[in-house]
Amino acid sequence: MEYLQSLGHKGLSFFQRLGRGHILLANIVMGLHTLLPRLRLVLIQVFSVGVLSLIIILVSGLFVGMVLGLQGYNTLVDFGAEESLGVVVALSLVRELGPVVSALLFAGRAGSALTAEIGLMKATEQLSAMEMMAVDPVRRVLAPRFVAGVISMPLLAAIFSAVGVLGGYFVGVGLLGVDEGAYWSQMQSSVDLYDDIYNGVIKSIVFGIVVTWIAVFEGQDAIPTSEGVSRATTRTVVHSSLAVLGLDFVLTALMFGD
């Protein structure tokens, strides 16, 4: 009986949080027009959300591309098809790894930082103080961060994929001796602008929205103590990673499952 009760309580609080999250999203979107004359706020956040994530994206993109080049070569060479290395590297990066891995890294780097920052602002009453100064924290603090995340994510994913393709090139062409012309031309003939690149960009925009939304919400919804903020930060990383992987399946099924 007690177990049932706690189950029901958990279910209710889950739906309550879900509702609060969507109300927050609606508030952010409805307040977006107030951001238009103040794009500087977004710019500053693009710096802390996007630019500061660059290093991790560049390094991981390079290594993921290099690993793909190595693994792809070892598999393809058995079939005498190592000319297709470019296709393997580019397709796996553009379709899947670029958007997904960079979204996971983004959640870990920028998402957790956003939650911690907003959570601490709440814990130190900065959000309350803004509200009492008649400045809506949703519009002044949350919305610019949200927009910056949505802008940065596709750019980061594109950088990740591009660097990865170069990494595959270094390993495949530079070290393993795949023909340079074959690497690029096979890639170009198999990767489609709309089917692959365009869909990859759409994926990364969706991931950007979801990850920053979760991060911003968890920050705003954090219990204003140091423990609450640290738990909210953990939740951001866990929830947004799960959301990215789950959504990736759904989006892939929608886009490529013809």
């Binding site: 710019l43 500053i44 693009v46 996007g50 630019v51 940065s152 750019l155 591009a162 170009q188 198999s190």
Partner: protein, 206 residues
């Protein structure tokens, strides 16, 4: 001062992201091989167009000169009608050109390969005739223009997809019938059945 640096960094970041997107579009994808949408459509009927897709390449002499635009099924002739769009620059293909569906490599994609055939045009015939007879040929005498593929042309000679299973099936049945004959010929030869098997396996590998 710090805001200036922030702005520069953000500018670099956005430019880098855009450059990466641009590189993906230009260098990695087939955008660079996209011809401009201008071109002319030709049509070919195949018994079997399996494996062929819209936007599959159309090649001649191994060079892509167009793309498959549409594939439909004709209820009357029970054939696959493949509509191809060829680039405008390649406007001097003889109208006797034949089309076949090939596979790029063993497991690769299907594509349409065009092979030039003699154009069914009187002038060329007359020219050939004249050459053979050692006469002087005056093109001005010839009224009809040479026939080229143009918008709406239909390719007459076609060869549909090779379906691996069909081929193997044919191969196997051929060997089986041959094997039967052999078995009859060499009645009493015990190794007959064994030969059959090895041949079949070879056939499948091929």
């Amino acid at each position: 001062m710090t805001t200036r640096i922030t702005e520069i960094w953000v500018g670099l970041f956005v430019a880098g992201g855009m450059a990466a997107l641009f590189m993906l579009a230009m260098q990695v994808s087939n955008l660079s091989t996209y011809s401009n949408e201008e071109g002319y459509d030709i049509e070919a009927r195949f018994e079997d167009a399996s494996g062929l897709k819209v936007r599959s390449p159309v090649t001649m002499a191994g060079v892509t000169i167009g793309r498959v635009k549409d594939i439909v099924f004709d209820d009357n002739t029970l054939q696959a009608v493949v509509i191809m769009r060829l680039d405008n620059v390649h406007n001097r293909l003889p109208d006797g050109t034949s089309a076949s569906i090939y596979t790029a490599g063993l497991l690769g994609e299907k594509y349409v390969g065009l092979e030039p055939g003699s154009s069914a045009n009187e002038c060329e015939d007359m020219m050939l005739e004249a050459e053979m007879e050692g006469r002087e040929f005056d093109p001005a005498n010839c009224q009809s223009k040479p026939g080229y593929l143009a918008e709406g042309s239909k390719i007459q000679i076609t060869q549909g997809s090779m379906v691996l299973e069909k081929l193997i099936g044919q191969f196997v049945s051929k060997f089986l019938t041959e094997g039967d004959g052999k078995a009859k010929d060499n009645a009493g030869d015990n190794t007959g059945g064994g030969t059959d098997n090895t041949e079949t396996t070879k056939g499948q590998k091929g």
